[in-house]
Structures are given as structure tokens and as C-alpha cells.
Subunit: 492 residues, 2 copies
């Protein structure tokens, strides 16, 4: 027995809390252990383990936990578990839990609930909160308004430090943050912020207007959430002021929500770059079907777009030049890949830099010029390398021009003829020059597609990659064919 | 005159501060305007504008600014501007500015400086700071140790709330954050944190051990910075404890540094996914040459890897089956693209989920099974679609099998023969089945490559994409060829 107990303890120390462990404790009605767990295990970890419990177990667990822990625990559960809990709670429990939650969090939950549950939650919320939830629900998704909370501390600029500290003691518990206080002037316009540490280090009779930061930034309720992330990143903020069209403060966004938004935006760009539909669900919660559904539309779109390539290649391969020089066909995938890769690099760089706000659509000429110069360097390097590489490929017999030079091979020693040398140089030169043109064209198009999308306020990541591939595949083939005619006029 | 002034004011309101504007004010020796700018413009914005000033203008600007603003302004400058300033400062100025900086920020600057400048900075730092800088410089890049600062507030768990508040008033100005306080027990082991708001709302005689959070997380000095980002994201932290091997607190990481790390890690993954070398420099600061240097190695690597494809295609195209059915060649790019795209989706999903810590290498079987089921769904859908699409392509004449059916076309009305139907069905079936196999194989390899890399503690994004493309191009070709022999035995 003793040994088993020791083993259990070791397990608890090292292993993360699991759903099975919670289920055991619930079945054993071991309230003490459950409470102990909630003291030492972070709420998100216990919530993740609890998400998969049956509703009856979940409500039992919820009722075991000390009231001090229930609020954050509830907040960290996933939507499904929250809905199950709301269904199972008594009216009294619901009133209690909802009114300890942040307005923005309740709003998010309500926004995704079936109407009857949402009604129940709204009824449970006290009058002020209900009004705020209804207000917040009106803001468009992915805007600052939909991210913000209305629970913040705002003071007149004529407030003294002492008055502010008293107010924090009284009203601070309901605020989303007390580390940043917001200051308005007599016209009720937002004019600055006071950090809590500055407040603590100031004299009691100083006015907030004397100690506040005036070099502050803010967003409007309709600002895109990507820009919100950029502001937090650039200005190292703890909280950001959200203003209405009259420059009055109507809400704030806190750093924890901003971090979530940055992660979400990044995942979205990442998904788009790899031709998938973005999703907010974590991978482990996706079903195989949901996962497949994110893939199919884009593969099919790319397949349809790929028809142009098939068409062009189908037409070209029956041209005399390709019938006389089947070796040229063997280089087609490599040429297309290189064009696609070079353009993909640029597209990726554009999408990422636009997302980080490193430049905007207005900088298009500057960026295009820089990419053009880079493209010349990359194109020249890659073309020179591929020229040498193709010579090696041909002389070593890695690829062979069987139709024109059957059986030629460095190992057979029969490759040292002027004819073969000239022919090989032509092949290598053709591929090298095609590669140079493809790299330069591809990097230009790879710049213009995302910049153009950003200019018309579309997601730069949305169509750039698939369109780039299609345009480049066809362009590369056309360049290749035209140059082939010029390089081998006697075989065309 | 009046009109011009008004215009200027409007400009200041809307336009961001530019290097040119600063230069004007410096040339005019307009100290008052410069000081005013520093009150209302956030430090990062004035620093960005100042980065491009000549060293003599920069030091002039620096000397104009009120001492209260110089510390953060200096901190926000880029490395080059900081080095220029350090060169131009008097010893006295240097001592002053260095000792108002955070230890971690000075360490970062010193770490990248030429030795002689670094020596000067270290000499200017006071004894404690110098010791801390030397300590921090020892930690490996990209670990928690290299991110942390040694300036934090730590208390014994027997400290009272009142004592803690007094200590904050006295020592808090030097700390990186006062919003999170760190608590140790009598063995000097880290046991919890106290949030400043909990402190403010507690009774004066309560002990920190009574009010502290015990459900805290921490990292070790050698923890990878990616994991640090995951902790901040998961636990909504303001500051994270960094422990040594004896579980004693040796430093903390604050949210602003964590946000920078998350952004850096994301940009790195993004660059790798698009086959580029990552860089920490913002795009606008990159020269065309630096930009090209990030692209060339990967394009060349991919080109070399592409040799296998060229080789295989070169061998296959002279096989009887392809000589008899040149139309099959026209579908090669589409098949390769589809395989590559399907695998790229999975690789991207793996890389992103691993980066966010949604699963780890130990979950490989669970993930592989989920991807396998998804792959069957995606493969079947795409294959069915491509089957239909190819029938349309063939009957409409978008692609034509000139060698076997010259001049056939729906518009010419000569395509309604049993021979053509059977042949078209065979083509479509062959491509559909190849597509199904390519999608499934590609998604399996796309899962295994990044998971395998993570298992051996390599960056999952590093080689996955290029290797996937190469493996899939060759695999797809081999599947296609084998199936072609089975579908068209009479033409082989």
C-alpha cells in the first residue's frame, strides 16, 4: 500500500493532470484532493483536463472547487464545456459565476452559444453587464471593438494621486487591469495613461495630469485586430485604449487578449501560405473530417488553376522542338519548381512584413525596386549554378539526350566531341537563361500580388500563393519554349 | 506666415515623425520643439526616426532630450545608433545612461558590440550591473537564460503585505516589473508569486505565503525560448520565473520580451516554410544583397534535390508507354503540384502545431492516424474531382491525345466513339488513382518529416518542406509510371 501511495505522489509531481485522474477523484468523491489540485495546478491545466469530462462530472467538479477558484476555472474551459456547465447550473450558480467573469469573456461565450443558452446567460448577468455585453456583441468580428472590454479605470486629469489610489482600492477588483489607468480631460477626450508604478512612486497630492504619459497611442473601435497586435508589439503595451469616433474612451484591450490575437493572425497567415483554410480550433480538437475540409477546397482550386499548365504543356510537347529534344521535357519540373520557390520566398516575405506592419501598400515602389535588385542577384547566381550543374548532369550521364546522342557517357569515354560539347552548352545555357528570367519574373509577381491585395484591403495571404504558382508555371513554360526556339533553330 | 504655421501643426498631428523633421529641428537648434516632441511622440517612434541621423546629429538630439526621456529613447534605438551614441558620449554621460537601462537590454547591446565599445560600456556600468551582465552573457542564445533579467523583486514567504509594499516603494524603481513579485521559502526555493493587485487588496498584516499564487509555472535557464513563448501564451503571464538547476530563482522574463520572442519564432518558422534563411532584421533595413543571400542557398539546395526528379523523368519519358502516350507527360506538373500541395498543407499544420505546443513528438501515432484518415478523405475527394475534370478536359479538347486521336473535339462532334470513351476513362482513372496515392503518401510523409525532426530536437521547419517536395516528386512519378503500365498494357 505504502509503495503504491509513493508512486502516486511521484506521478502527481511530474505528470500533467489528466482527465482520467480527475474522473477517479470525482468517482471517489474525494473533495479534499480536488480542492488541493486546484491550489497547485494552474487553472488552464485543470480546465484542459476537465474539458473532456461528462457534463454530470463537470458540474460535480465545479461544485467541489472553492468559490475563489471557480471564476478563472470557468473562464479557461472550452466553449463546449462552458455550455454544458451553463445547462447544468442552477439559476443562483449561474448568476454568481457570470457576474464574476469579465465582460469581454462572457461576450465571447454568449456570441457562440445557441440562442436559448445565450438568453439564460444574459438573464443571469446584472443590468450593467447585460448592457455592456449587448454593446460589445455589436462590434464586427476581428475589430478592436470585438476584442475590448468595458471594465477599466478612467479618471479625470484633475484627480490627485491619493484619490486615484483610493478609487483603485474601491473599484479595482472589477477592472480588467489596474496596471494601466486611463485619463480624460474636461471635454471627456482621452488624453493619457498612468502606469500603476508611476502612481505608487508619486506624491499623494500630485495631479494625474502631471504624472500621466502623454505619448500614448490608441485605436478606434473599427480598427482591424491585426493592427491591434502591431500596436502591442511596437509600443510594448500592457493595455491599449479603444476610442469611438468622438475620441472618447469606450473600452480597453489587455495584453493577454492581444497575445491571443497575434497568435491567431499568425496561424491564419501560416495556414494560407500552405494553402489551407484557417481555423481557430487547436489541432487535437479537430476531427479528421474537419481537418480534411480545410484542405480540399484549396487543393481542388489549385488543380483547376493547374489546368492552364497542363494545357500549355500538352500543346508544347507536340511541337517539333520538343519532339526532337525530349531531354528538354525532363527539365520542366525543375524549372517550374525554381520559379515557384523564388516567388514563394518573396510572397512569404511580403505577407510576413505586411502582417508585422514593417511596410504598407504605399511603399510598393521602394519594395519592388529592392526585390528587383535582389531578384537580379538571386537569378544570376541560380542561373550560373544551374548552368554548371547541367553541364555536370549531361557529362556524367545523370540526364541523357538519348535521341540526339544515344549512349553517350563520361564513363564510356565517348563524350569528348565538339558536337556534344556545343549541344550540352546550348542545353545548359537555355535552362540557365530560362531560370534567370523565371526567378526575376517570379519575384516581381510575388511582390505585386500580396502588395496589390493589401492595397485593396484584402488579406495578402489569401490568393497570392496559388495565383503565383499558376502564373509562374505558365510563364516559365512560355519563356522556356521561346528561348528553346532561339537556342536550337536547327531543331525547331 | 500664419498659414504656414497652421499647416505645420496639422502635419504634426497626422504625419508620423520623420528623420527629415528631426534633422530640420536639429539644424535650427530648436531645443524646445525637440523636447515637446519627446513628450507627445512615443519613444519607439522618435527612436525609429532618429536611427538614420548622422552620429553628430544623434548625440546633439540625445543631449537636447530631458533626462527623464533619455533612458527609454536610448533603449528603443537600433544597434547601430546605440553604438554611434556610445562612441560619441562622454564618460559621464555613458555612466548615467547605462545605469538607468535594464540589465537584460544592456546585455543584448553589449553582446553584439565590437570588443572595444563593449569594454567601454562594461566599465561604465556599476559593479553589480557589470557582474549581472557578465553572468547573462554566459547563457546560450535562444534560451530562457539569455532572455531573462536579474532585476526583479523577491521576498521571503514570511514577509508581510506591509513590508512588501514598503520594499516596493524603496526598491521597485530598479525592478523590471513590480506587477509580479516572486516568493521564496526558507530553503530559498521559489514557491509562488504575488500579483501587485492582490497585494493592494490584502490586509497589511497578512503574510505573502497566505496570499501568493501557488499554481505557478517556471522554466529553467536552459529552456528553449520557443517554450518560453508557449508558457506566456498558455498561462497569460505578465512575468515568468527562471530557475537554476537547484530550483532557485535566478531571473525573470517579462511579457514585452516574450512578445518579441514569439514574433521572432513565428517569423523564423514562416521564413523556413517559404525556403528562406530567417533574419531578425526588419525588411526595410535589409540591403538587396542581404535579402538575396537569404534566398540563394535554399533555391540552390532545392535545385540540387530537384536533380532526382529530372533524372527519373528523363528515364521515364523514353519508355514506350510515354512515347505512345505523350498526353501523360502533360499531366505530370499537375500531379506533382497536387502531391506537393497536399503534403505542404500537412507539413505546415505540423510545424505550426508543434510551435504552439499543441502536441509533441510523443503524440506521433495519434497524429499520424488522424492525418491518415484526413488523407483518405482528401485523396478520395480530389481523385474523384480530378477524374471528372479530366473527362471534361479531354472531351472539350483542353488537352488532346493527338497521337492516338488526332483532331478529336467535342465541337467537331467526332468524339462520341466507344474507343475514345474507353481511352479517356483510362486516362482519367490513371490520373485520379495516381492523385489519390500521391495525396495519401504525401500527407503521411508530410506528418513524419516534421515530427521526426522534433523528436530528435531539430527545428521541424528546417528541412521538411524541401525534402517533402523532392521525395514526393519522385514518388509521384514512380506511382504514375507503374499505374500507367497497368492501365495501358497494350501501349507499354
Amino acid at each position: 500500500m505504502n509503495e503504491e501511495k509513493e508512486e502516486l505522489e511521484i506521478e502527481e509531481e511530474n505528470e500533467p493532470l489528466t482527465t482520467e485522474r480527475l474522473k477517479e477523484l470525482i468517482d471517489a468523491k474525494d473533495v479534499k484532493s480536488i480542492r488541493d489540485i486546484f491550489v497547485v495546478v494552474p487553472d488552464i491545466d485543470s480546465a484542459v483536463a476537465a474539458n473532456d469530462l461528462e457534463p454530470t462530472d463537470l458540474i460535480y467538479l465545479f461544485r467541489c472547487v472553492k468559490p475563489a477558484d471557480t471564476a478563472t476555472f470557468f473562464d479557461e474551459l472550452n466553449q463546449e464545456a462552458k455550455e454544458n456547465l451553463v445547462k447544468a447550473m442552477t439559476d443562483r450558480e449561474l448568476v454568481q459565476i457570470i457576474n464574476t467573469q469579465s465582460v469581454d469573456d462572457v461576450t465571447d461565450v454568449v456570441g457562440e452559444m445557441p440562442a436559448n443558452l445565450a438568453q439564460r446567460v444574459l438573464k443571469a448577468a446584472d443590468k450593467d453587464m447585460r448592457a455592456d455585453i449587448n454593446l460589445l456583441l455589436n462590434y464586427k468580428e476581428d475589430t478592436a471593438g470585438s476584442l475590448m472590454t468595458t471594465e477599466y479605470l478612467e479618471f479625470k486629469d484633475t484627480t490627485t494621486v491619493e484619490e486615484a489610489i483610493d478609487a483603485i482600492r474601491k473599484r479595482g477588483k472589477d477592472a480588467e487591469t489596474i496596471y494601466t489607468l486611463f485619463v480624460r480631460d474636461k471635454n471627456r477626450e482621452f488624453v493619457g495613461t498612468v502606469d500603476l508604478d508611476d502612481l505608487i512612486f508619486s506624491k499623494k497630492d500630485q495631479l494625474l495630469s502631471e504624472i500621466m504619459n502623454q505619448d500614448v497611442v490608441s485605436v478606434k473601435t473599427d480598427t482591424d485586430q491585426e493592427e491591434v497586435g502591431q500596436m502591442f508589439r511596437r509600443y510594448d503595451l500592457n493595455a491599449l485604449a479603444v476610442l469611438n469616433q468622438d475620441d472618447r474612451l469606450v473600452g480597453i484591450i489587455t495584453i493577454d487578449d492581444a497575445v491571443d490575437v497575434m497568435t491567431e493572425e499568425q496561424s491564419e497567415d501560416f495556414a494560407r501560405m500552405t494553402n489551407m483554410e484557417p481555423t481557430e480550433k487547436p489541432y487535437m480538437e479537430l476531427t479528421a473530417w474537419e481537418n480534411a475540409k480545410k484542405c480540399i477546397p484549396w487543393i481542388v482550386t489549385l488543380l483547376i488553376l493547374g489546368t492552364f499548365t497542363t494545357m500549355v504543356l500538352n500543346r508544347l510537347e507536340s511541337q517539333t522542338i520538343f519532339l526532337n529534344l525530349p531531354i528538354l521535357i525532363a527539365f520542366v519540373p525543375m524549372l517550374m519548381d525554381t520559379g515557384g520557390n523564388a516567388g514563394g520566398q518573396t510572397t512569404g516575405l511580403m505577407i510576413r512584413s505586411l502582417a508585422l506592419g514593417e511596410f504598407g501598400p504605399k511603399d510598393v515602389l521602394k519594395v519592388l525596386f529592392k526585390e528587383f535588385r535582389s531578384a537580379l542577384i538571386v537569378g544570376a547566381s541560380v542561373a550560373s549554378f544551374s548552368f554548371l550543374w547541367l553541364m555536370i548532369e549531361q557529362y556524367s550521364g545523370i540526364v541523357s539526350d538519348v535521341k540526339n546522342f544515344p549512349g553517350i557517357n563520361i564513363w564510356a569515354g565517348n563524350c569528348w566531341t565538339a558536337d556534344f560539347a556545343i549541344h550540352s552548352l546550348r542545353n545548359a545555357g537555355l535552362v540557365g537563361l530560362t531560370m534567370f528570367s523565371a526567378v526575376v519574373a517570379s519575384k516581381m509577381i510575388g511582390t505585386l500580388l500580396p502588395m496589390g491585395a493589401a492595397a485593396i484591403k484584402k488579406d495578402p495571404a489569401l490568393l497570392s500563393q496559388p495565383l503565383l504558382t499558376t502564373i509562374m508555371d505558365v510563364t516559365t513554360l512560355m519563356i522556356y519554349f521561346s528561348l528553346a526556339l532561339a537556342f536550337f533553330p536547327h531543331l525547331a
